[in-house]
């Protein structure tokens, strides 16, 4: 079996020669179309880059200035076919590649695969009436309307022309009774079919029509092949692995994509970064493998790794801060926190030592003291303080309290954490804990007399009011919270056991 490759290239001659050498290594033919816009003399460079026998199987197609999305792309391909036809060489298949492609399976495996296939055509042929092939953008408009402009150069005028023609009801039909087919630019055709396509392409009416279509390279070849070859002999698939992002840009392949490429059940990959030398080196090792694995018959793309990546990464990792993005500055890092915690909300005088001791005795529970005390950070659990927030330096904590809390929660991932918050505290935490979905507030209301630290007697009503307002707000926000009553600033034994069973229940829902 002998193959002929047509390579469309426009820059990066080093990697192009690397690809050419790789393709020539197995005794096959290569025709290069070198973009006319690039003044570099490729034919001259071939003398220094390739040896005699290699050069004898390399040919250069007549050069065109290629523009993406335009007819010139088809012309360049046809020039390659014409060069092959003129060469008087025989070959079984013509395979179209670009200069940024590289084989990912040995050519011997490809030949075995093609032999097994029994002379079928490998070209995506999608009927736009039955299937959608173009993810987003123009479909029928590509050939129904006249396109004289390149969207890349004149995007606004291009769209305007499309709108106008739509309004005017312009709907062209394909000439010669052809039925439109879409498909990737990258195909592999048998020598006979390629010859037939070339002959057919010489008809003037056909050329005139496709010259004014948009992205004709994805329309011209599938349409002609579908007309020339019975459907049973067309495998509507590509031998080349390629992928387009949601933004419609081709996925570039880098040094770290070796494993990803090895998973692909295709023979070539598009498109490799010009700097991915290491990737090419590693692929060379695969290609040189004397006992390659069985040929991939399904020609399928394996995208789970890519899909898993984009699903997660493009909005940031769950439960992690995203640098340079914040939906509500007020919450700070608590916005990203996915770790639940509980808060004992009480007035200034309620004594909670016994309650905290009971909670700390529960396995996996840490109940700190007043993390947000005005003059220091009361970690309260002996032996642990966050090293970045020393107990005697509350200024760093006070710069952004929710961030401090998020850091404390992250530093002890195995523990179910709670702390005491005395109201009124005069800072944002009294509201944050009401609206943070991870916070479980436990309100402890005083049932009787109440004194401020400076001895002024306030009545219970006031303390109740402050706490109650918050409680009501928490409930309005849809928060489930526990309500306990303290008598003479103490929780009763019954209250403590109620509290401890509530926290244990919360903890069962807490997974880390």
């Amino acid at each position: 079996m002998k193959l002929a490759f047509i390579i469309l290239a426009h820059d990066d001659s080093d990697n192009l020669f690397r690809l050419i050498r790789r393709l020539l290594a197995d005794g096959d033919l290569v025709v290069v179309h070198w973009d006319k816009k690039n003044p570099f003399d490729l034919a001259a460079a071939a003398y220094s880059q390739l040896d005699g026998p290699q050069r004898s199987r390399l040919r250069f197609a007549r050069r065109h200035a290629v523009e993406w999305g335009g007819w010139s792309m088809v012309e360049a391909t046809l020039a390659g076919l014409a060069e092959l036809a003129a060469s008087a060489e025989t070959f079984d298949y013509v395979i179209l590649l670009s200069g940024a492609d590289y084989p990912i399976k040995p050519l011997r495996v490809l030949k075995a695969f093609l032999r097994q296939g029994g002379g079928r055509e490998y070209i995506e042929c999608v009927n736009p009436e039955h299937e959608t092939w173009v993810v987003d953008g123009l479909v029928e408009e590509r050939y129904q309307h006249y396109h004289w402009l390149n969207w890349r150069k004149r995007p606004k005028l291009f769209s305007f022309m499309v709108t106008v023609q739509k309004k005017l009801g312009i709907r062209r039909r394909l000439p010669e009774g052809l039925s439109p087919r879409f498909g990737s630019q990258w195909w592999a055709l048998t020598g006979t079919t390629a010859q037939q396509v070339l002959e057919r392409s010489r008809r003037r009416a056909l050329r005139a029509f496709f010259k004014t279509t948009w992205v004709p390279d994805e329309l011209f070849f599938p349409t002609l092949v579908a007309a020339l070859v019975p459907a049973g002999r067309i495998v509507s698939n590509s031998l080349t692995f390629y992928h387009f992002s949601q933004q419609g840009r081709p996925l570039l392949l880098y040094n770290d994509h070796f494993d990803f490429l090895c998973q692909q059940e295709r023979f070539f990959a598009r498109k490799l970064s010009a700097h991915a030398t290491l990737l090419r080196d590693r692929l060379d090792q695969v290609l040189a493998d004397p006992e390659p694995a069985a040929p991939p018959v399904r020609l399928s793309k394996q995208l789970p790794a890519y899909e898993a990546f984009t699903a997660v990464q493009w909005r940031g990792l769950p439960g992690r801060r995203v640098i340079g993005r914040q939906h509500d500055a007020w919450y700070g890092d608590l916005e990203w926190n996915k770790r639940p915690y509980f808060v004992l909300v009480c007035d200034q005088q309620t004594r909670l030592e016994t309650a905290r001791q009971t909670l700390n005795a529960l396995p996996g529970v840490s109940c700190y003291g007043e993390l947000f005390h005005g003059s220091h950070i009361d970690y309260g659990v002996s032996g642990w303080a966050h090293p970045f927030y020393p107990a005697d330096k509350p200024a760093v904590r006070d710069m952004k309290r929710p961030n401090f809390l998020a850091d404390v929660l992250q530093a002890q991932p195995a523990q179910f954490i709670g702390f005491v918050l005395r109201l009124p505290c005069g800072h944002e935490m009294e509201k944050v804990i009401l609206f943070d979905p991870q916070a479980a507030p436990i309100f402890i209301l005083p049932a009787d007399g109440y004194q401020t630290p400076d001895g002024l007697a306030w009545d219970t009503a006031f303390a109740n009011m402050v706490l109650h307002d918050n409680l009501q707000e928490a409930r309005r926000a849809g928060k489930r919270c526990l309500l306990l009553t303290a008598h003479q600033h103490h929780l009763s034994d019954e209250g403590i056991s109620q509290l401890s069973s509530y926290v244990s229940r919360l903890k069962t829902g807490f997974t880390c």
Binding site: D256, I323, R325, A395
Partner: protein
């Protein structure tokens, strides 16, 4: 019309100042003819940092920087000998005041406009090492190609202050050494980010600086946000070091809808070299707010400050920064 006027009102004074201070610079090693149209350029302002340069050059050459444009503010440590005959380095010399040039910003803007227009420009200090998504397998050319394709003209970075597990002065550095081998630790949490209205930049403070040197006045802790890699146009200008760049859209770390790649800037200040530097800067009074920052460092050095704590994280690679939420890959697969 009003838009154009507003643009000129901001752009022209910045460009004029840059031009005025640009006259201070004398080109002492001219290799600018070697600058290639597609090169990534590195711009550096330095003073007596020759000891750091050998490794610095290696690091950024490996990442694909094509040319180094160095502004030497009165070094006396044999800078030119260290650089030698390297064809990818050009050096400007000046004895003028760093402070008067707005801490080097006007000098940088001058060179950026003159040589950087149309290039991707990296503006870093000799103690800053850029890490970005896939930086171990993809070079800066690939990163900038991606950013350009996605229509993103800049890369946002978070500065990570690196330190050793010994006292600062015991972390001795020798020329050519990888500073990461001496100072592999950093703070994985303890950062505070806030968007500021005027230039729309994300103001990030925290890390070891804030807790070790500014614990009593955390509000004065230096900014950690830097936009160091920019696809330069003639009217662009840095405003305050590389923390803020104008126009405002360059300060935007992400796209409107999704995330873009961001980087981390490993910053190796807390080495044995700090004392000499701090003493000189406190004496020269050429740094921001009367070298207030350096006074703090000197006090820390005198107190034999240990920066390492049990919550410190040992640096591994860029993936770790992504896992810690200090860097994003965006949709760059």
């Amino acid at each position: 019309m009003r838009k154009i006027l507003r643009f000129l009102k901001k752009a022209l004074p910045l460009q004029l100042k840059a031009r005025r201070h640009g006259r201070d610079l004398a080109l002492v090693k001219d290799c600018t003819a070697h600058i290639n149209g597609k090169d990534i350029l590195a711009f550096i302002v330095l003073r007596n940092e020759a000891v750091r340069l050998p490794y610095f050059f290696d690091y950024y050459r490996h990442l694909g920087v094509g040319h180094f444009l160095i502004i030497d503010n009165g070094s006396d440590d044999g800078l030119l000998e260290v650089i030698g005959a390297a064809a990818d380095c050009s050096v400007w010399h000046t004895q003028a005041s760093y402070k008067a040039a707005k801490f080097g910003v006007h000098w940088l803007n001058f060179l950026l406009r003159k040589y950087g227009t149309g290039h991707w420009c990296l503006t870093v200090d000799p103690d800053e090492f850029l890490v970005y998504p896939y930086s171990d397998s993809r070079n800066l050319r690939e990163l900038t190609h991606y950013l350009e394709q996605e229509g993103k003209p800049s890369l946002f970075t978070l500065m990570l202050d690196m330190y050793s597990d010994t006292a600062i002065e015991q972390a001795t550095y020798q020329a050519g050494q990888d500073p990461l081998a001496i100072c592999p630790w950093f703070d994985g949490t303890g950062y505070y980010q806030d968007k500021r209205p005027h230039y729309g930049e994300w103001w990030i403070r925290g890390g070891v600086r804030r807790r070790a040197f500014f614990a009593d006045q955390p509000e004065h802790s230096p900014a950690l946000n830097k936009t160091v890699l920019v696809h330069w146009r003639w009217y662009y200008a840095y405003i305050a070091s590389t923390h803020i760049v104008w126009p405002n859209r360059l300060n935007n770390p992400h796209f409107a809808d999704t995330l873009a790649p961001t980087g981390c800037l490993l910053h190796f200040k807390y080495l044995s070299l700090l004392r000499e530097k701090a003493e000189e800067e406190v004496h020269r009074q050429e740094h921001y707010a009367g070298s207030f920052e350096y006074q703090r460092y000197l006090a820390g050095l005198d107190a034999q400050a240990y920066l390492w704590t049990s919550a410190s994280v040992r640096f591994q690679d860029w993936r770790q920064c992504v896992d810690l939420g200090l860097m994003t890959t965006g949709r760059w697969f």
